[in-house]
């Protein structure tokens, strides 16, 4: 091998090496987009729901109401007969079996949708109104093109008669897709078309607020002590080792802590944002202390010395000068820590937040779900409709995380000083 060949070989090796590096970076970036694309393409459908137009005649006789009912009468009335009467008028059907097939095109909530409409608009009694009633999950998925209609009839949940009905309704222009407000206002449900993340949103909100209220003040105080006041001794070293170790302890261990101490010893209520908030606060604390200390450390000693030189005490120099300068950095560290806590699932499962909760919690001691746990719960469900619900929940969760991270970056860029 002569000199040129050797050099060429070495240069080729150089190029190859560089290419490996570039390929790895591109591969990692590809994973990001592949993952996000997989979630977003599945989930976007859940923001729309399929409805079927039904002419509803709010006949006072069928409802057994007087001509001028008060609000209480409207709430107590039985809407089932009215709903069924109007629904079977949508198409010409004969016999009980066909009627049942037609009714099953609708979500089981039709009775309450009609009831809600009348209660909100009491003056339409004895009039006929065109309502868009929510379709059942199967029709919803069929209309969105996710349902395999070419399967043989016995393997489908929709029979051929229902398929024909659906096709005729589509041709008549009675099937619509509208914004799915249920997704944000309703709690969990066994029926995908009625399930929403309202409860999970409120639960996550309570949890994160409790986490913030507990972890932020303690983290700031601890980092001020360790960075500014702590003498160099064994206790301080021990605290620091503890903080560094806690930051790397798997989150599920904090779940065991919450289960053993908060539920087992203190008997706090299970499945509640209160317990979740305390558990996550303990988990987030060391993860906030580390960036808080870094931003306190970044304040140059000249600030402290200047304050001390004009007669401030140590506490005054720290509280009046160092801490205000470090606040933007501590805030952005806290927000990033909270974003991590918001996406945490495993500890919440252990403290019982996997319970099936339909009601939207109104105080932090109500049983509740939270966004990441809702993702886990729905991903275990067999119904096709829950797949897109799960993806939509992930989209909502990710958009919160992105917002939080943007706020953190903004705070850092806007307020952090370069010394």
């Amino acid at each position: 091998m002569n000199k040129e060949q050797r050099l060429k070989k070495r240069h080729n090796a150089e190029k190859r090496f560089r290419l490996y590096g570039l390929a790895s970076v591109l591969l990692a970036i590809f994973f990001v987009f592949f993952l996000l694309n997989a979630i977003f393409s599945k989930g976007s459908g859940a923001f729309l729901k399929t409805t079927i137009d039904v002419e509803v005649n709010f006949n006072a006789d069928t409802l057994e109401l007087s001509e001028t009912p008060n609000a209480e009468d409207l709430e107590d009335a039985d809407y089932y007969d009215l709903a069924i009467d109007n629904i079977i008028n949508v198409k010409n059907v004969n016999g009980l079996k066909e009627e049942k097939s037609l009714i099953n095109l609708f979500s089981p909530d039709y009775e309450y949708e009609i009831r809600r409409f009348l209660i909100n608009n009491p003056n339409i009694l004895n009039q006929t109104v065109l309502l868009k009633l929510t379709a059942s999950d199967d029709i919803d998925q069929l209309h969105k093109g996710n349902y395999p209609r070419e399967l043989p009839e016995e393997r489908r949940r929709i029979n051929n008669f229902q398929l024909n009905l659906y096709d005729e309704l589509v041709n008549e222009g009675k099937v619509d897709k509208i914004f799915n407000s249920y997704l944000f206002t309703k709690g969990d449900s066994r029926n995908p078309e009625l399930a929403g993340i309202g409860g999970a949103l409120v639960g996550s909100f309570f949890t994160i607020v409790i986490t913030l209220l507990l972890s932020f003040p303690i983290a700031i105080a601890a980092s001020i002590y360790l960075e500014e006041f702590a003498p160099k001794n064994k206790i301080t070293d021990f605290i620091e080792i503890n903080i560094n170790n806690l930051a790397a302890v798997p989150s599920i261990v904090f779940g065991l802590l919450g289960l053993g101490i908060l539920l087992g010893t203190f008997h706090l209520p299970r499945s509640t944002p209160l317990v979740a908030g305390i558990t996550l606060a303990l988990m987030t604390l060391p993860r906030i202390i580390i960036p808080c200390r870094a931003s306190l450390k970044a304040v140059p000693p000249s600030i402290r010395e200047g304050a001390l030189a004009i007669g401030a005490s140590k506490v005054q120099s720290v509280m009046h000068h160092v801490v205000p300068l470090a606040i933007p950095g501590t805030l952005s560290g806290t927000i990033i820590g909270l974003a991590q806590a918001l996406g945490e699932t495993a500890p919440l499962i252990l403290i019982g937040m996997v319970a099936f909760v339909v009601d939207i919690p109104s105080i932090p001691t109500d049983p509740s779900a939270s966004l990441p746990v809702q993702v886990y719960l729905w991903s275990e469900q067999a119904e096709r409709g829950f797949v897109e619900k799960t993806s939509a929940t992930i989209m909502v969760l990710l958009s919160f995380l992105i917002t939080l991270n943007f706020i953190a970056v903004y705070l850092r860029q806007k307020f952090e000083r370069k010394w």
Binding site: S24, Y225, N244, L256, G260, I261, V315, A346, V375, S379
Partner: protein, 466 residues
């Protein structure tokens, strides 16, 4: 009740602040002496004397009141010649409490009705004595504070001392958390190990806690123990955890390391500026999202591909879980090794270039050997993340504890089993639930040791070049 008291304490503290401040002003104007601190500090001083003792009492009271009332109730039950075991007592106490709180369902018995009456009276006594205690303490501490102020004490010094003490107390929370973790894990684990021999747990070859039924956890017969031994052997879990972590590292280490090298050595600052945050998005995505992705996209995909080649692939294969976990870990490896490589002094590179080495030769022969301890440290940190990772394996790796090295079969991990043992309602006194805490303890120590070694590596490396 507690909220009202808290509100009152806050209001009292605020008025103490105002009073302390005006008090020292009147003293200075009437006695014309020079005060030792700014007037505000006297306000803070009095407010602290008002708030801290009250809050401490309130906290201690809230912790101990239920225990004391429970003790009293069980004593009254014992007086009526009703002999119960501690479990029965617990149950009755729970019933009494839920009846008192108005969400009782079930049949009422005489002792419960009696218990509720007692509970109510104890509760009233406790509430009123709490208020009396709080008020008297407040009066005592505030008057002590006022006395000190009248003597023109060094208020700023005192306030600062209290403040530093409070800051110190906050930093102790980290120690308390660690202690809480260790105690809660140890407490249940010791109970578990008193039923199951620790060696049978650590070295047993089969794991099937679902068939571990024991009639009485405190007295296990030899026959039952033979069964239990077979149910709680955790080697398959350790093997599964290590196996999935290995697959994850096979994905994450090359990709992460090469991207770290590329970022540190080759990429222009513009490329760095955009690609680094994009890769770090991977670290910010919640793990439950990866789990969903692994279970719904990657797992079925592998099964389809496997079917085409005539392979039998479980839809919950170790491969799918490990691969997705590897993707999640890429940014940890890449950003840590990027930092480590950046910390290698430029003079080492310059020396290598000066004798004619190409860039890749410099990296391979000089930079990486120099950065090796740091890189090893970052890989170890990534391993500790992989074995502690829960949601991906819970959703994608299966539940059956197979002892296998076939990546296409399903395996299970420590974290998966902890979740599966503790999901839903469970009684605290069965070996099944306690085994979850024993697994948690193992996991805690495993990650602790890994992190310790990793941090030692990183620290040693840093010292070398500083």
């Amino acid at each position: 009740m507690n909220i009202i008291i808290l509100l009152l304490v806050t209001i009292f503290s605020y008025f103490s602040f105002l009073y302390g401040r005006s008090r020292i002003r009147t003293i200075t104007s009437t006695q014309s002496i020079k005060i030792n601190a700014l007037p505000n500090y006297y306000g803070y001083y009095l407010a602290l004397w008002c708030a801290i003792p009250a809050l401490v009492i309130l906290l201690l009271w809230s912790i101990f009141e239920p225990a004391i009332i429970k003790l009293l109730i069980s004593q009254t039950l014992a007086q009526n010649d009703l002999n119960y075991s501690s479990d029965q007592l617990n149950l009755i106490y729970q019933k009494i409490r839920s009846l008192y709180e108005g969400n009782f369902s079930g049949t009422l018995t005489e002792e419960i009705i009696l218990g509720v009456k007692n509970y109510e009276s104890f509760h009233v006594i406790a509430q009123s004595s709490k208020i009396v205690l709080l008020l008297s303490t407040l009066i005592a501490t505030i008057s002590y504070g006022i006395m000190r102020i009248s003597k023109n004490n060094k208020a700023r010094h005192d306030v600062e001392k209290i403040l530093t003490g409070l800051l110190f107390a906050c930093s102790l929370v980290a120690i308390l958390t660690t202690m809480g973790i260790i105690f809660s894990l140890l407490f249940e684990s010791i109970k578990f190990f008193s039923a199951i021999n620790i060696f049978d747990f650590l070295f047993g070859m089969s794991w099937s806690p679902q068939r571990a039924f024991v009639s009485d956890a405190s007295a296990i017969t030899t026959l039952e123990y033979e069964n239990l031994k077979g149910a709680f052997g955790s080697v398959p879990l350790f093997a599964g955890t290590a196996f999935i972590a290995l697959i994850a590292m096979i994905v994450a280490v090359p990709i992460g390391l090469f991207s770290g090298i590329y970022m540190a050595e080759y990429a222009s600052s513009k490329v760095r500026k955009y690609s680094k945050p994009i890769i770090e998005i991977l670290a910010g995505i919640p793990t439950v999202v990866y789990g969903f992705f692994a279970a719904l996209t990657v797992g079925p995909f592998f099964r389809e591909v496997g079917e085409k080649f005539g392979l039998e692939v479980s839809s919950e294969s170790a491969l799918a879980a490990g691969l997705v976990m590897g993707v999640m870990i890429i940014p940890y490896v890449s950003s840590l090794s990027d930092d480590v490589i950046n910390a290698v002094p430029q003079s080492l590179r310059d020396g290598s270039y000066a004798i004619g080495a190409t860039k890749s030769e410099t990296i391979k022969r000089v930079v990486i050997p120099a950065a090796l301890p740091g890189i090893v440290g970052s890989v170890l940190l990534a391993v500790s993340r992989a074995i502690g990772e829960t949601m991906i394996v819970v959703m994608a790796a299966g539940l059956a504890a197979n002892l296998t090295i076939n990546p296409l079969e399903s395996t299970t991990t420590i974290t998966t089993q902890i979740v599966m043992l503790l999901i839903g309602d469970q009684e605290f006194d069965s070996p099944k639930t306690q085994s979850a805490f024993a697994l948690g303890l193992t996991l805690f120590f495993a990650t602790l040791i890994l992190n310790y070694i990793a941090l030692r590596f990183v620290k040693k490396y840093r010292e070398k070049y500083e």
